[in-house]
């Protein structure tokens, strides 16, 4: 069964050059005959198509600026494709940025409910898993302090634990989350492997070949917003050799 269907997706990005338009510039712009735009448009993704089936672990590789993160964000619906279609079947747990969807003033416990809502959990579900999330993140002591006092590691543990306590159908992962303090990585890996065993989908972006080799069996190579190659570990070898 196809879990993610990416069909000919393009994303036109607007990169703005300034912090905002000041009044002076605004009026100067009105008087100019040729309007100078304060943004450049470029295609971050160009006609990307691929499907991900149940149980697949996909690694996305490519140089900086190839569109890897943009692709993950588009799958997570943060960006709307300018062209083409994306269908995602199942509950998605995106782990893209540290502390994304956490409110710094809320305590860890409040953030379980706050962030949990964004991850698609219902309130009752969250009440059920609260204890388990805290235990897996090893945050019993600090769970009632505002998360703005947390260290990066604590942030990540809470985010990872929350996203994975109930098996998501689709886990979208940045390598940031696979790094982190050593013992947690081990348990994180166990849990992740466990999740994939239960026929979930994982999409991972990483620059680390050995990490990719250990977690993924299919690789998509992106360059300048296009798919260069899509296949088994030979794609990774080709990318590393290039």
């Amino acid at each position: 069964m196809q879990k993610i269907i990416v069909d000919n997706v393009s994303l036109k990005f607007r990169m703005y050059h300034d912090g905002g338009t000041s009044l002076k510039e605004y009026f100067a712009n009105l008087l100019r005959r040729e309007k100078r735009k304060n943004y450049t448009e470029f295609l971050a993704l160009k006609g990307v198509s691929f499907n991900v089936a149940d149980g697949e672990r996909v690694g996305i590789v490519g140089r900086n600026g190839a569109g890897k993160s943009t692709l993950l964000r588009t799958i997570s619906r943060i960006y709307e494709p300018s062209d083409g279609n994306i269908q995602v079947h199942g509950r998605v747990a995106p782990l893209l940025d540290i502390g994304a969807g956490f409110h710094p003033e809320f305590t860890g416990r409040e953030n379980i409910y706050f962030n949990g809502a964004f991850l698609g959990y219902s309130k009752d579900q969250l009440r059920e898993i609260e204890k388990e999330v805290i235990a897996f993140a090893e945050l019993e002591e600090f769970i009632d302090s505002p998360v703005k006092y947390y260290s990066t590691g604590m942030y990540m543990r809470l985010a990872f634990s929350l996203a994975t306590t109930v098996h998501p159908d689709i886990l979208i992962l940045d390598e940031l989350f696979v790094g982190g303090d050593a013992s947690f990585v081990q348990r994180g890996k166990e849990r992740m492997n466990n999740m994939i065993d239960k026929s979930s989908v994982m999409v991972l972006v990483s620059h680390d070949p050995s990490l990719l080799r250990s977690l993924c069996e299919r690789f998509i190579w992106l360059d300048h917003g296009k798919i260069i190659a899509d296949g088994d570990v030979s794609v990774l070898d080709a990318y590393c050799a290039s």
């Binding site: 990005f13 607007r14 990169m15 703005y16 905002g20 338009t21 009044l23 943004y39 997570s76 619906r77 943060i78 960006y79 709307e80 995106p94 893209l96 940025d97 994304a100 969807g101 409110h103 003033e105 809320f106 409910y113 706050f114 962030n115 809502a117 964004f118 698609g120 959990y121 219902s122 309130k123």
Partner: protein, 261 residues
């Protein structure tokens, strides 16, 4: 129509998200302050007390009845002004969330406006108690406040939706809004009766849609009678127009704001 259907689906599907955002609005505002949520009530109460004392002596009105008069105007105006200005900030202020997790963008202005509505109702209840002790009267006409609240809320939300998008591209709007609101309170019959004014200013006030809404609040609270049906019809029309434009404008631009954050 499909736009509206999609939005309603989003709200049903992810009502837990919306509730969390409303909760954030309400609980975080005064966290770690001594008076906490009381500030929401204290602030307008103190402002109104001072204004009532000053303006009742200027207009040579009885302080008690002027206080009731003022209260009915302020409650309507405040709901409008806070909803519009806070909605204006709702997208810009949640940049971190919008760029990093998927939440239907409509939820941000919606959550803020709900919080403002809750504030307004609480303020109404607590101030009514004070008004009753200084001699306001209760009548069946107060039931008429319910549709008035609904209409004013949607009217303000529609404008707030437009503001929330424009502010992303033109941040000066936040400051401009603050000035406009200050001016608008004097161009609405909040402190005075429009009948007492000279013709030119009076026409201006009669053109102001808020005048209609204030009338809907003032008749039941101050005079104890239902406002004329005509006033309800006008207000409903304004609300519908504002909401339609607001939703249309928002849906047209919401996907692009992510890039301008």
């Amino acid at each position: 129509m499909t736009i509206l259907k999609n939005y309603i689906f989003d709200i049903k599907d992810r009502h837990n998200v919306l509730m969390q955002l409303v909760r954030q609005q309400i609980t975080l505002r005064y966290r770690r302050t001594l008076f906490g949520y009381l500030w929401t009530l204290l602030n307008p109460l103190l402002m109104m007390t001072v204004s009532a004392i000053v303006f009742s002596s200027i207009f040579r009105m009885d302080l008690k009845s002027y206080a009731v008069f003022l209260f009915s105007g302020v409650i309507a105006f405040n709901l409008f002004a806070t909803t519009v200005t806070q909605c204006g900030q709702s997208l810009v202020g949640n940049e971190q969330l919008i760029k990093k997790v998927y939440i239907p963008k409509l939820f941000f202005p919606l959550a803020v406006s709900f919080a403002m509505l809750i504030d307004s109702v609480l303020m109404f209840i607590s101030l009514s108690m004070i008004i009753l002790t200084i001699g306001g009267h209760v009548s069946w006409a107060l039931v008429g406040l319910l549709p008035a609240y609904v209409m004013l809320y949607f009217f303000a939300l529609g404008i707030g939706l437009v503001m929330s998008v424009i502010t992303v591209y033109f941040r000066d709007l936040l400051h401009i809004m603050a000035i406009i609101m200050q001016a608008l309170i004097f161009l609405s019959p909040v402190y005075f009766k429009p009948e007492t004014l000279s013709n030119k200013v009076r026409t201006l006030i009669e053109l102001n849609p808020l005048t209609e809404f204030i009338e809907l609040f003032r008749s039941p609270i101050f005079s104890g009678v239902f406002p004329p049906v005509q006033a309800y019809l006008h207000a409903a029309l304004y609300a519908l127009l504002s909401l339609t434009i607001g939703i249309w404008f928002f849906s047209k631009h919401e996907h692009r704001v992510t890039f301008r954050m």
